[in-house]
Symmetry: C2
Subunit: 198 residues, 2 copies
């Protein structure tokens, strides 16, 4: 069982570098140096740079899945309340999940046209989190007491849209508060659309 170090260090170094500079600007040599690992090792573990990117994507989303599942919404019994707690938790954990950016969004913009396999992988992963969030937000949709209220799928989709868009602005302005504000507005929009106080 190949375990602990080299591969893991490569994944972490690659994630950091690719989040900050993007995939094309991150060189294999650079990743190896940052990980303190030889290039021979790199190609022992990953067939190509693209393979590494897919593995990093997997690790990135696995971590976020864990962070979402670790929220307090599990302990809430009332369905509507649980959905609202989920939204609050997503917002509270945003820094941990996307503090350095979102690999899915970065890769989508960078590689959609040039690396079809990565684009497909990113697309699938977006679908998966959309489905998961949609399930968690379902009570908010059935609750809807207002005309043109969005479905659970729409709420989930809009959440992802807001996160990705806010990250773009945060990076452009080097100011993470764009994310905080955008998510807070999303929170208010959801509550208005469903007519829940606060």
């Amino acid at each position: 069982m190949p375990k602990k170090t080299a591969r893991q260090k490569l994944l972490e170094a690659a994630q950091t570098l690719m989040l900050s500079k993007g995939y094309p600007a991150t060189t294999v040599d650079e990743i190896c140096e940052a990980a303190g690992v030889s290039k021979g090792s790199f190609y022992h573990f990953f067939g190509t740079k693209e393979d590494l990117a897919l593995a990093v994507l997997e690790a990135f989303q696995a971590r976020n899945d864990r962070l979402i599942a670790a929220g307090p919404q599990g302990g809430v019994t009332d369905p509507t309340e649980r959905a609202l707690v989920l939204v609050d938790h997503l917002i509270a954990a945003a820094g941990e999940m996307w503090g350095a950016g979102c690999l899915l969004g970065n890769f989508a913009l960078d590689l959609a046209e040039t690396h079809p396999a990565i684009r497909q992988d990113v697309s699938d992963r977006f679908q998966r989190v959309a489905a998961a969030l949609s399930e968690g937000m379902a009570p908010l949709a059935s609750e809807a007491g207002i005309p043109h209220a969005p479905s659970a799928e729409e709420l989930a989709e809009q959440f992802i849209v807001v996160v990705e868009g806010a990250l773009v602005l945060a990076k452009a302005h080097k100011d993470w508060s764009y994310v905080t504000r955008a998510l807070e507005r999303f929170r208010q929009d959801v509550r208005r659309a469903v007519s829940v106080a606060t």
Copy 2:
């Protein structure tokens, strides 16, 4: 009369290529070939690839400014109505403005860490459109008949967030309808936040 051909063709080719593949993956040779212009010409007009990127950015935003200004909101007298017409126009013209993506967003994610000058330029341009939209949306903020209603600045910021985020998803899924839906939801959110019917 300003000269017509080579420089202009380079700008157009570069815009198309950079929107689709991103800045780093777009080579100078490729731009020259697409423009039907020699490399010598390229470096006659632009000092570096980065200079070209800045020029393309300028052209991109100039075009969008024109498209926004060309909307029907100018002819509306009632302030609130005019602001709502502006929002509708932005959504209607989204395809023309961002049908192939948004250079500001692409560059922000791609180049923020590696090309400080471009990042600064993008940041300034985002600020500029935010200010312009904010001015156009001001009546909606003062109208606010609902608690926690967003300010005009917040409305403008959220609009940009939604556009950029939706473009990320559209590219990931190769499906532009993500933009249409996200903007439609934004429209509803705005009207709810300001309590205007429809």
